[in-house]
Structure formats: structure tokens, C-alpha cells
């Protein structure tokens, strides 16, 4: 079944491929991982308002004309329609979003991810970049209370969204309940993946306040930790062991 979506932004990047990779964190990320992997070996050329992205692995060749843009992911059923809302902005978009309760009106380059804008524009470095291609979960944040990989969501898509990053979980002095659980269990090693795990756990607990061990294992399975401390992380979230 084909699916159409409208985005009121001009688009000049291969990263639009990741558009529909919506990338809900957890078990549902498998497809997006394959997509992001495929996009890793591409080449992109920009000529005027046209971007041509050639994906050298499995996805195929996509040409994006100026103006209304249709991108089809070969091998998938998703079609994305992009309509420029303000041609004077060129390859930038204007967005309104709320981050950790604070409203922002930003003009963002269309090719930059939400993770990038959070970090480099807003200085919210708690959101980490690991793989930058939807594989590791380090960049996980909540968008409208759902955990997503922010490295594969374009900032221009976040217009009107409510974003929560690890900095927004608490005031930084009194820990939030999930932070406290990680604190009590010392569920940290190098800590680089930790914000991602925390946000995924927060997303889980918003949807299910009493998860089983298997619920937790599944919800965190879209996250990699090279130091490996899963035992403590899982235990922290279920509050046991």
C-alpha cells in the first residue's frame, strides 16, 4: 500500500530518504536501520534546486526536481511529497518547536538533522551523535512523547513538535524518577549511550508504567552500548535486582 505525506519544506538533500524512517526507537527500527545503512554509501549532487542522490547499495537512483518534490524509496511503499513554503529561504526552512518546554522559532538548513540543530544551534549536547545513521540510539529524544532517533529526523520536519531531550528530564539538580533509577543502580559506564537509553526508557514508561523485564529488553533493543552494561540498565528500568 502506498502512503503519501506532505511536508511544507523545500528539500535539497539525500537525507530526505530518511523521511519516513520515522524511526520509533526499539524493535521497530530494523527497517530504518536497513534504510540508513543503504544511504551510507550514496553520492549527492546539487544543481540549482535539484538534488540527485545515487545510492550505491540497495535503494536505487532518485532525482528530485525543483518545486514539488516526490521521493520514492525503491523497495518500499512510502512516497513523500515536499512543497516549498517560502522560496526566498532557499534551502532553509523556518520552524517553530518547543524544546524542553521552551519555544523556539528557528531557520534551519534543510539538510541538517534535528540532532544537529539541538546540539549545534541550541547547545543541547546531552543528545549524543553515535553512528549518525539510525543504528545506535545515542541520539534518542522524545518527539511528542515518543522516543525517536534524532539523527535521522530532519530539523525541518520538527515544525510544531514538542521535543524533550535528556536535559529536559529534570532540572539537573533533582533527578527525575528514571534518572534516579539509573543513579541508584550505577547503570553507566562511559556514559555516551546513556542519554539515549534514558530517553528510550522514559518513552517506554510514558506508554507503559509497569513494564516487565521483556518489555524493557525490547524497548531498549534499538540501543547499542559498546561498554555493555545491559544487565544494570535493564534492572534500573524495571527497578529490580
Amino acid at each position: 500500500m502506498s502512503e503519501e505525506k506532505e511536508v511544507k519544506k523545500p528539500h535539497l538533500s539525500r537525507r530526505e530518504f530518511l523521511k519516513d524512517a520515522g524511526l520509533i526507537v526499539g524493535g521497530a527500527t530494523i527497517g530504518s536501520i536497513a534504510l540508513a545503512s543503504a544511504c551510507n554509501n550514496d553520492t549527492t549532487t546539487v544543481a540549482g534546486n535539484t538534488v540527485t542522490t545515487t545510492v550505491t547499495q540497495t535503494v536505487g537512483t532518485v532525482t528530485v526536481p525543483a518545486g514539488t518534490t516526490t521521493i520514492t524509496q525503491p523497495g518500499s511503499t512510502s512516497v513523500v511529497t515536499v512543497t516549498p513554503d517560502d522560496p526566498s529561504l532557499g534551502d532553509k526552512s523556518r520552524i517553530n518547536l518547543t524544546v524542553n518546554g521552551r519555544a523556539y522559532n528557528l531557520t534551519v538548513p534543510n539538510h541538517l538533522s534535528l540532532a544537529w540543530i539541538l546540539r549545534e544551534e541550541l547547545g543541547l549536547f546531552g543528545t549524543k551523535i553515535g553512528c549518525d545513521m539510525g543504528q545506535c540510539g545515542a541520539c534518542t529524544i522524545l518527539v511528542d512523547d515518543v522516543a525517536i532517533y534524532s539523527c535521522v529526523m530532519l530539523a525541518c520536519e520538527a515544525d510544531g513538535k514538542k521535543v524533550t531531550t535528556v536535559e529536559g528530564l529534570s532540572d539537573g539538580i533533582t533527578l527525575s524518577p528514571i534518572q534516579q533509577k539509573f543513579y541508584d543502580k550505577e547503570a553507566v559506564q562511559c556514559g555516551y549511550c546513556t542519554p539515549g537509553f534514558l530517553m528510550a526508557a522514559e518513552g517506554l514508561l510514558k506508554a507503559n508504567s509497569n513494564p516487565t523485564e521483556d518489555d524493557v529488553r525490547l524497548a531498549l533493543s534499538g540501543h547499542l552500548c559498546m561498554c555493555q552494561n545491559f544487565r544494570k540498565t535493564i534492572s534500573a528500568v524495571i527497578g529490580g535486582v
Binding site: R119, E120, G130, Q135, S170, V188, C193, S221, F230
Partner: protein
């Protein structure tokens, strides 16, 4: 044994002092600086395995909007090379407004090469007339050997002999979630570099050399680092970032590897291939070992596990590191020992089978007994007590001896899968003494609180451990000791490399020494203050301290606070050094300088020990292996920070599972290129692969006179215990799985069963 009672150290209420920074997003890693004010650097990598760069044309890249500069071996001769020695070697750097533009511009740079014959398979390097990789002068091999006794004499004593060939062990890439990165900027002729390195001052020395600058004009910083311990000694990124920044007139540049390239050429654990010829008595005691070992990419740690765990009177141990045209290999967490431990375990299990005894019995028979000194050096002792206790603990708790059965015999479970159980133990060469502990500063402030200042990065547990050590030694409350300046090469002494688990083995002894020095100086100030100054003939030796109060030992009612002692006194700095570099790890003469009251020449501990049992179920139709139970014990010396110990220890046990069942690289042997260059292709385990309730952890306490407060590093040896899982698979199916450079995934299990090719 009665262990000393501590006032501060080891108390559970004295929690991790900086964990909140991780949990609130405040922990600042290398890339977490200068929002909106920095440029970004990315790297193009070689597409040949061996040769020379003929030409570089970056015109198209430089015409790309947002691209600011290109650097090659001409601009950065000390960090980029015209000679190519492996596929994936960095060749051209691009600086741009944002990282994606830099990455895209990489594709617009044309590089041509004069290609030379290359060698990309380790086995090829062992053949006569092998192509030379160019990595070493006139050879691909770096031989090493070790001898004890007389193997020929041992051969005469043997009742049973066995020759086993152990195929290439698992390799696994060590790409941490935080890619390698460095941030550099210039102010005038001063260079500032931020890189999460395990060795801050070592990084500075490298940058000084790369840029050929005076040391006083290079300023290095390292606070947090995102994993990759054991391999985070790389400093090349700092050099690259510095040259990139130079190319853009000193503007800040963050150089970051893509995940793909990070995986391609940053350190992966080397593989080991071995041939063992054993001789044993009928009662199971070993009499000789004649071994050859080849190490793909490194020659480190050739014989440690063999020397430190087992009594073998006659040993000939030969081998060579092999250097071919693939990305360099190197140490990883647990440094050199896991592949050797794996081969040793598999070979020992085979010998046990020939002797018709169990893997437990052959180990029990040949393990170094409690308190046995080193077999080769009087200046070193190993954790023979710990390894014995670890071994017995996991055997007992798992019920190993009652569950073990002859390999592949009578072990079908009701669900049709095969049951297996494996055991492993070893002592290895680190976790206690990194050999590089340099110096620490403990600063007593006029308000009676203390700061510790460490010239190292600030990874997990380390500050906490040092605060425990310092507070205990000073006699202060935990909450009165703070982490001061950290990871700043301008304001700290060289605290050495962050090694040996959470700084315990490395900087720990330096900070205990510094705290002792500081305490003596504060006591000298204290005896000039009321009421102590009224005590006739009082000296600092009459004083002690507890709970941040200094008291007169003969009459403890006479006491003052540290704050009072410091009243009107300028800050007091205590300096301390730990192990001498030439001392600990190698045991070369014992202590090189007095430490904790121990004289020069004292035999030092150089060990950490672990044992593990794994119980598995193997599905012979799918090749899937399920871990049913996993029992792990590790020697800790003293447990100072329990949750931190369990975190470090627990992660080591999970890494076992990753190494045994998941990690795997895929190589194109024609080019030496790593194909599995993404997380998804490297098959990392996730939470779906770990069931907390099946993992049992037993920290084993003891005392270690040469370690800070008796605590030594933990978490490393247990990584090397992944052999127990392979041993368990063998016990289940009765056939050894060939790791074939990777983990025992279902394909390899099926191959061992003759069900796949």
C-alpha cells in the same frame, strides 16, 4: 583473613560523585563544545592496500559551497602519509561549515595511486617469499619467545602427549559509540586541543611532536570519553584537528571520523593462532608445553596467561606478531589476554579429554596454588589466591561438576536442544598495575575541604575511586573531598594513562601517596593551632584524623577540624607518585621507589584474576546458542565502590557473550578492506541478548599490599573468560567450533556440525 576496616572507602552511601553529569546531559565529550562556532573536518581514506599516492585533485571539493580547506600529506606531513600501507588509511582531510558538507566533499576529491603488491592474509605472511607489507623493515614478522626449564627434559617425563592446533581466534572491532574525534583551535601561536584520550599528557606530547612546537604552547584537554577503553590512546586525531585548524587560520575545527571509517581503521583486537604440544603425567599434571603463537597485528602479551595461571615446569613459547596490509590491530579492554586465554582453554580441554578427566579436574590439578610466587621472577606475585577462589566459587555456584558430562553425550534436553557447560579461569597481567602511574595532586583549601586534581580524562568511576582513596587517607568525610581540575594539561601533573580499571591500578596509588603528603603538611599546620599547640612536645606523628577532624592520639578529646587547622593558612598541596614506570607490571626489580611504606625492591602484584562458567543450550537445527546460566567471579582486592565494581565487572561478563557469540568482521581478503563497517554489520548484542537474572556475579575480596587501599582493577580478566562459552558449546555438541576470526554465530555452529559449508 581479616581485612582492615575503612571509615570512608567502601561505604555504600559514598556514591559516584559525578554520575549525575552523565544522567543530566552535562558530561562534556569532545564534540560537546563551541556550539555554532566551529568548523567540521572529515577524512577521505585510501582505496588501495599498499602503494603511493600519485596525485590528489581537490578542485571540485574546494568549489563546493561550505568547503573551507583541504589538507594532504603535504600540509600535514607528520599525520598523513604519501605511502599507503592499508586499505582505509586516511589520505585527505576536508574542512567545511558542517560535517555533512565535509563528508560529501570527500567524494569530490580525486586521488590516484601507484599500487604495490600487497599482503592481506596473515597466513600468507608465514610462507617463504611472502610479499612484504612495508610496515616493518625487510620482514612482516616481529618474533618473541619465552623459555622456562628444558622442554626436551619435560618430554622424557611425559606419560601422555598431545598436539593441538588452535585456529585464528575471534577478532572484534572496537569502535565505540562515540567516534574518535578531536577539537582544535589556535590563539596566536598557541594551540588548544580537546580529545577524550586515556592519556592526556601523552596526547600532549604527541601533539607537540606532530606540530613540532614548544611544549609550553600546546594546551590539551580531556574530560569525558565515550568508551573504547584500552584503545583510546590514539592521538592522531588531535594532530589532524590541529592541522585542519591551522589551515583555516586557527578557527576551531572538530574533526570526527564517520562511523564507517572509525570501524575501518581504528583498533580492532588482534587474532591469535596457536599450536600447542603438551606433555602430562597420567595423574593430569602438566610437565611441558611447547607452543607457537602467531598474532595478527601485534606481538603484545605473548605468554602472560600461560605464565601466570598454570604450573608448567618446562616451557618453550615462541611466536611472532604479523604485520600485513590491513588496519593495525591492537589491545582492547582486557588488553592482550583474551585470545591467548581462549586458545589456552580450548587446548587444555582437549588435553583433559585425552587424559579422561574433566576440564575442572585438569585445572584443579595444575593451577598455581594459593600464595605461590611467580615462577620466573622473585619481584612479582600473581593473584593465585584470587584465581583459586574465583575458580572454586563459579564451579560451586553453578554446580559445574554435577552438570558436566562427556562432550556431546547424553545431553539432549526435553526441548530437543543439546545441553553444555564450560569453565574457564585465568590470571592476567593488568588491572592492578598499569606501570604508568605518574602523579597526583591533593589540594587542601583554606576552608578545610580538599580537591583532587588529575592529569587524565574523567571516565566512569575514576573520580569516585580517587575521592574514596583520598578521603580515607586524609581522614576526611567523603563529602568534604571534591574533584577539582581534571583533564587540563596546563594545571595538572601527568597522572599517566587511564588504565587498570577506573584508575585504581594506575592513578590510585599516586593519589593515596599525594593524600599522605597533604595530610602530613596539614598536621604540621594543625599543631600550631589551639588546642593542639598547647600540648607539650606534640609532633605530627601524634596525630590522626577521622570524619574531617584531626585529633591527638593519646587524648582524642583534643581535636580540631581541618577547617580550623587551615585557618589563616594558604592552600596546601600534597604531591604523590605511584608505581615507577619500570616497576610494577613487568616485575623488573620490584618497587622502584618506596610506596605505602613498602621499601624499594618489594615484590609487587601484577595481576587480576577471573573465572567463569557458562551453561548453554544449542539448537542443532538452527545453530542458535542460548545462554542458560552464566557465573562469573573476579578478584577485586578490596571493593571500594561496590556499585561501580558491579558495573565494571558486569559489563565485562556481557562482553564475553558479545565476543563468543556476536562480534564479527567481514573482510575482503583481496584488498584487506573491512566490509562489516557498520554497527549493524558487526552484529553487536543488544538488550534482547541479555537476561539479567541469568548472570551471576561474585566479586572476590582479598588484600593487596601494593595496591591503593588494597584495591586493584577489576572488569578486565572477566572479559577474557569468554572461552567458557566456546567450551560449553563443545560440551554440548562434541565438536569444537572454529571461530575463524569471528564469533561462534549460528553459521559456524552448523558448519562444525557438518550442516553448513
Amino acid at each position: 583473613m581479616t581485612l582492615p576496616v575503612f571509615n570512608v572507602a567502601g561505604k555504600p552511601e559514598n556514591h559516584d560523585c559525578h554520575i549525575k553529569e552523565y544522567l543530566t546531559g552535562k558530561a562534556d565529550y569532545t564534540g560537546d563544545h563551541m556550539p555554532g562556532r566551529k568548523l567540521f573536518g572529515a577524512m577521505k581514506h585510501a582505496t588501495i592496500a599498499h602503494g603511493t599516492i600519485k596525485s590528489i585533485d581537490a578542485t571540485k571539493a574546494l568549489n563546493e559551497t561550505g568547503v573551507k580547506a583541504v589538507i594532504t600529506y603535504k600540509e600535514a606531513p607528520t599525520v598523513l602519509n604519501q605511502t599507503i600501507l592499508y586499505w582505509g588509511q586516511p589520505v585527505v582531510g576536508i574542512v567545511a561549515d558542517d560535517w555533512y558538507t565535509a563528508c560529501r566533499a570527500i567524494n569530490l576529491v580525486d586521488v590516484t595511486y601507484d599500487e604495490l603488491p600487497s599482503i592481506t592474509e596473515a597466513d600468507e605472511a608465514l610462507k617463504p617469499g611472502a610479499v612484504l607489507s612495508g610496515k616493518r623493515e625487510g620482514t612482516n614478522l616481529a618474533p618473541a619467545s619465552f623459555t622456562r626449564g628444558d622442554v626436551d627434559a619435560g618430554r622424557q617425563q611425559a606419560d601422555i602427549e598431545l598436539e593441538t592446533i588452535q585456529p585464528w581466534t575471534t577478532t572484534y572491532q572496537h569502535s565505540p559509540i562515540e567516534s574518535y574525534q578531536a577539537l582544535a583551535w589556535w590563539i596566536g601561536d598557541h594551540l588548544y586541543v580537546y580529545q577524550g584520550s586515556q592519556n592526556l599528557h601523552g596526547n600532549k606530547s604527541a601533539v607537540v611532536n606532530y606540530l613540532e612546537m614548544p611544549a609550553n604552547k600546546v594546551h590539551c584537554f580531556a574530560r569525558y570519553l565515550g568508551g573504547g577503553h584500552g584503545a583510546r590512546l590514539s592521538n592522531w586525531e588531535s594532530g589532524i584537528a590541529a592541522f585542519m585548524s591551522k589551515a583555516v587560520y586557527g578557527l576551531p575545527v572538530l574533526f570526527r571520523e564517520t562511523k564507517k571509517h572509525n570501524m575501518l581503521f581504528h583498533i580492532r583486537q588482534y587474532e591469535v593462532k596457536s599450536t600447542y604440544k603438551w606433555g602430562a603425567k597420567n595423574d593430569g599434571s602438566l610437565v611441558y608445553l611447547d607452543a607457537q603463537n602467531w598474532v595478527n597485528g601485534s606481538g603484545a602479551g605473548m605468554s602472560t596467561v600461560m605464565r601466570t595461571t598454570w604450573i608448567i615446569p618446562h616451557v618453550k613459547w615462541e611466536g611472532a606478531g604479523i604485520y600485513i596490509n590491513v588496519p593495525d590491530r591492537g589491545s582492547w579492554r582486557c588488553v592482550a589476554d583474551p585470545p591467548f586465554a581462549l586458545n589456552m582453554t580450548m587446548a587444555m580441554d582437549k588435553l583433559a579429554e585425552k587424559l579422561n578427566i574433566s576440564p575442572y579436574e585438569i585445572r584443579r590439578k595444575n593451577m598455581m596454588p594459593v600464595d605461590m610466587p611467580d615462577q620466573d621472577s622473585p619481584y612479582r606475585y600473581w593473584g593465585s589466591k584470587e584465581v583459586n577462589e574465583c575458580f572454586e566459587t563459579v564451579a560451586r555456584e553453578s554446580g559445574y561438576t554435577s552438570k558436566w558430562h562427556a562432550p556431546g553425550q547424553n545431553n539432549k534436553r526435553t526441548d530437543g536442544r543439546l545441553h553444555g557447560i564450560g569453565i574457564h579461569c585465568h590470571t592476567d597481567s593488568h588491572g592492578s598495575v598499569a606501570g604508568t602511574s605518574m602523579a597526583g595532586i591533593v589540594l587542601m583549601q583554606p576552608d578545610g575541604t580538599a580537591l583532587i586534581e588529575a592529569g587524565c580524562t574523567k571516565p566512569h568511576n575514576s573520580p569516585t575511586m580517587l575521592v574514596h582513596f583520598t578521603a580515607e587517607t586524609l581522614g576526611m568525610k567523603y563529602e568534604d573531598v571534591f574533584v577539582g581540575d581534571w583533564g587540563n594539561s596546563d594545571t595538572t601533573l601527568n597522572s599517566g594513562s587511564h588504565g587498570g580499571s577506573a584508575f585504581t591500578g594506575a592513578g590510585g596509588s599516586a593519589f593515596v601517596s599525594a593524600a599522605r603528603d597533604c595530610r602530613a603538611k596539614v598536621f604540621a599546620a594543625a599543631i600550631t593551632k589551639t588546642p593542639l599547640k598547647e600540648i607539650a612536645g606534640i609532633t605530627v606523628d601524634d596525630l590522626d584524623a577521622k570524619d574531617s577532624e584531626i585529633f591527638y592520639k593519646p587524648d582524642p578529646t583534643k581535636r580540631i577540624t581541618f577547617r580550623t587547622a587551615m585557618n589563616g593558612t594558604p592552600p596546601i598541596a600534597g604531591y604523590g607518585t605511584g608505581w615507577a614506570a619500570a616497576g610494577g607490571g613487568t616485575g623488573g626489580g620490584g618497587l622502584q621507589r618506596p610506596l605505602f611504606g613498602l621499601p624499594v625492591g618489594t615484590a609487587v602484584n601484577a595481576q587480576s584474576a577471573a573465572a567463569s562458567v557458562a551453561e548453554v543450550a544449542v539448537d542443532t537445527d538452527t545453530g542458535e546458542v542460548e545462554i542458560l546460566g552464566h557465573w562469573n567471579a573476579t578478584g577485586c582486592g578490596r571493593v571500594i565502590f561496590y556499585e561501580g565494581v558491579m558495573s565494571q565487572f558486569g559489563s565485562g561478563t556481557e562482553l564475553q557473550i558479545a565476543q563468543a557469540l556476536y562480534y564479527g568482521d567481514v573482510y575482503d581478503y583481496a584488498t584487506g578492506a573491512v566490509i562489516g563497517s557498520q554497527f549493524t554489520e558487526t552484529q553487536l548484542p543488544t538488550t534482547m541478548d541479555i537476561r539479567p537474572s541469568r548472570h551471576n556475579l561474585y566479586p572476590i575480596e582479598g588484600d593487596d599490599h601494593s595496591a591503593p587501599l588494597g584495591a586493584h582493577g577489576i572488569g578486565e580478566p572477566v572479559v577474557g573468560s569468554y572461552a567458557c562459552i566456546l567450551s560449553a558449546i563443545y560440551n554440548a555438541i562434541g565438536v569444537w567450533v572454529d571461530p575463524d576470526h569471528g564469533a561462534c554465530n549460528p553459521d559456524k555452529v552448523l558448519k562444525a556440525l557438518g550442516k553448513a559449508t
